[in-house]
């Protein structure tokens, strides 16, 4: 039986639940999943300015408190915080250990960067247009699988740090490593993929992203506990959380996560397997504890998915509020003025009302009566100066638009888009580099 905890479900996740897990859960492995789709593209841009940058910007703050606890409790850490620069991340982790006076070994997995072997003229999986036709390409990273992580675990390193790896593989690898499962044992690898998929979003299985007051109440969301799973050599799994932490684990929270972001429950494609969730059974076995069995899989694909990051221009955004008598009429008038002035130079433009139907991509039709509207104008432009016109024009509504507009704000941000392609598995060569602290 081994125990694997998940201490982060996205790059900006809370810092303290991982500390609590390490202190009290008796973990064999701690997994931190911190890499969203576009994060590597942003990291690649940072690396261009500074060759030692490009890893997760929160690495110091997240790992400094964890390293001594990992050592004290004999827990191994597996994380994709390496992002666009896993080697620099590994060196940084070693430096953090040295600053804390600790001996630490880090195994860095590289090889996900496939910018040099993708064909920029290849069609994207999303829309069939050539990859390079979307914008200047910034990054191309293949989703590595458990097979890339196993050699790193075999080094005995305290910390395994990677760039782009399929999220469930962060859990599949330690299970295969510890129990000696063959990577073509499809039933076990399928079940391991289910467990990894359930754990990867951390708090999303312990009551985070679940509460609906009066219908689905969740206690203690200000102190949400993160999950761990106890798994035996057959792959039977019990998911739980620490007593005294907030949140809850029920069949319902686990079921929601099982299907989260799944586009085919009979064929969930990862680098490790094509997992089948149709026979998964989820059974409560105690307070904040459920058993999960029945995951299976078909053989893994011969290709790996590649996320290609490209420069997608600059997004400018502006907002202004209208409230009280005829608020909607005045918001609409401001929206028409802004549309008239901005659309000639920014064709990709959206004018909508927050608090109305903006979430539906709506345009002020069929709004319920309310006393406050926040007009939102957002558009994309090739350069920052043009995108900045949106905020300036919205601000001009303070003195040049309808009566009583207030709280005008504007911003510009550079955006990285993502499209996908496939690459032959045989062309991707993962490598492991071990770095150790000086003492």
């Amino acid at each position: 039986m081994i125990r694997i905890g998940c201490g982060a479900g996205f790059g900006g996740d809370r810092l303290e639940p991982a500390v609590t897990l390490l202190e009290r859960a008796g973990l064999d492995y701690l997994v931190l999943e911190c890499l969203a789709e576009r994060t590597i593209g942003l990291g690649q841009k940072r690396r261009m300015h500074d060759p030692e940058a490009g890893y997760d910007p929160l690495l110091d703050r997240r790992l400094a408190p964890l390293l001594p606890l990992l050592k004290r409790h004999g827990t191994r850490l597996i994380t994709n915080m390496g992002s666009a620069n896993p080697l620099a991340a590994g060196r940084r982790v070693v430096r953090l250990a040295e600053e804390a006076g600790m001996a630490l070994t880090v195994a860095v997995v590289t090889g996900d960067d496939v910018l040099g072997i993708i064909d920029p003229a290849a069609p994207s999986l999303e829309n069939g247009r050539p990859l390079s036709g979307h914008g200047p390409i910034l990054s191309a990273n293949a989703y590595l699988g458990a097979d890339a992580l196993l050699p790193a675990l075999e080094t005995g390193a305290d910390v395994v740090i990677t760039g782009r790896v399929a999220d469930p593989s962060l859990v599949v690898a330690p299970l295969a490593h510890r129990f000696g499962w063959k990577l073509d044992d499809w039933d076990r690898i399928g079940q391991a993929t289910v467990i990894g998929h359930l754990l990867e979003c951390a708090g999303q299985i312990t009551g985070g992203y679940f509460a609906d007051p009066g219908r689905k109440d969740v206690p203690g969301l200000a102190d949400l506990g993160f999950p761990f799973a106890d798994i035996d050599a057959e792959g039977r799994c019990r998911i739980g959380k620490l007593a005294g932490t907030g949140g809850l684990i029920t069949a319902a929270t686990v079921k929601e996560q099982l299907l989260y972001e799944v586009t085919d429950p009979s064929g969930y494609v990862t680098p490790d397997a094509v997992a089948d969730f149709r026979a998964v059974r989820i059974t409560p076995t105690g307070p904040d504890q459920v058993e999960v069995v029945g995951g299976t899989a078909k053989p893994r694909p011969d290709t790996l998915k590649v996320s290609v990051g490209y420069h997608a221009g600059f997004v400018g955004e502006g907002e202004i509020s209208y409230a009280g008598a005829n608020a909607l009429g005045r918001a609409r008038l401001a929206g028409r003025i802004l549309d008239e002035r901005l659309r000639p130079s920014i064709p990709e433009l959206t004018v909508e009302c927050l608090g109305g139907e903006a979430y539906r991509h709506g345009f002020l039709e069929g709004l319920p009566p309310t006393v406050e509207y926040r007009l939102r104008v957002v558009g994309r432009a090739a350069d920052a100066a043009t995108a900045g016109e949106i905020g300036r024009e919205v601000e001009a509504m303070l003195t040049n638009g309808p009566a009583g507009g207030g709280g005008a704000r504007g911003s510009v941000r550079e955006t990285v888009g993502i499209v996908s392609t496939l690459v032959e598995r045989s062309r991707v060569r993962p490598q492991v580099t071990v770095v150790e602290s000086a003492r």
Binding site: A252, K255, S420
Partner: protein, 105 residues
């Protein structure tokens, strides 16, 4: 008798590119048959037609008393480049629960 889905079901939204995935679960597994009968792919496509421009595909998951709706072209070009206020389409889960269904035989 018409009821709102919110009374008997819960839902989680996820995203992949320009696709929204909506997982619909019966609170009481005895309601799964009713959900299967009433909440068809066509009905979901109609209910979310303001947002979802592509096809809606439904998967039946009796093992967890759930229906999985995979909605294409739902996020105005996808999370990374969408100009929408909610680029992940997280709000769609609650909008689906606003749907009314016929609860009688």
């Amino acid at each position: 008798m018409k009821i709102r889905l919110h009374e008997i079901a819960h839902c989680r939204a996820g995203d992949k590119g320009d696709t929204s995935t909506l997982s619909l679960f019966a609170f009481d597994e005895r309601h799964y048959t009713l959900l299967r009968r009433e909440v068809t792919a066509e009905a979901v496509g109609r209910h979310l037609s303001r947002t979802v421009r592509g096809e809606v595909v439904r998967f039946e998951m009796p093992n967890v008393a759930a229906l999985q709706f995979v909605c294409r072209q739902a996020l105005r070009s996808g999370v990374t480049t969408s100009l929408a206020i909610d680029p992940h389409g997280k709000c769609l889960s609650s909008e689906l629960l606003e749907m009314e269904i016929e609860a009688g035989e």
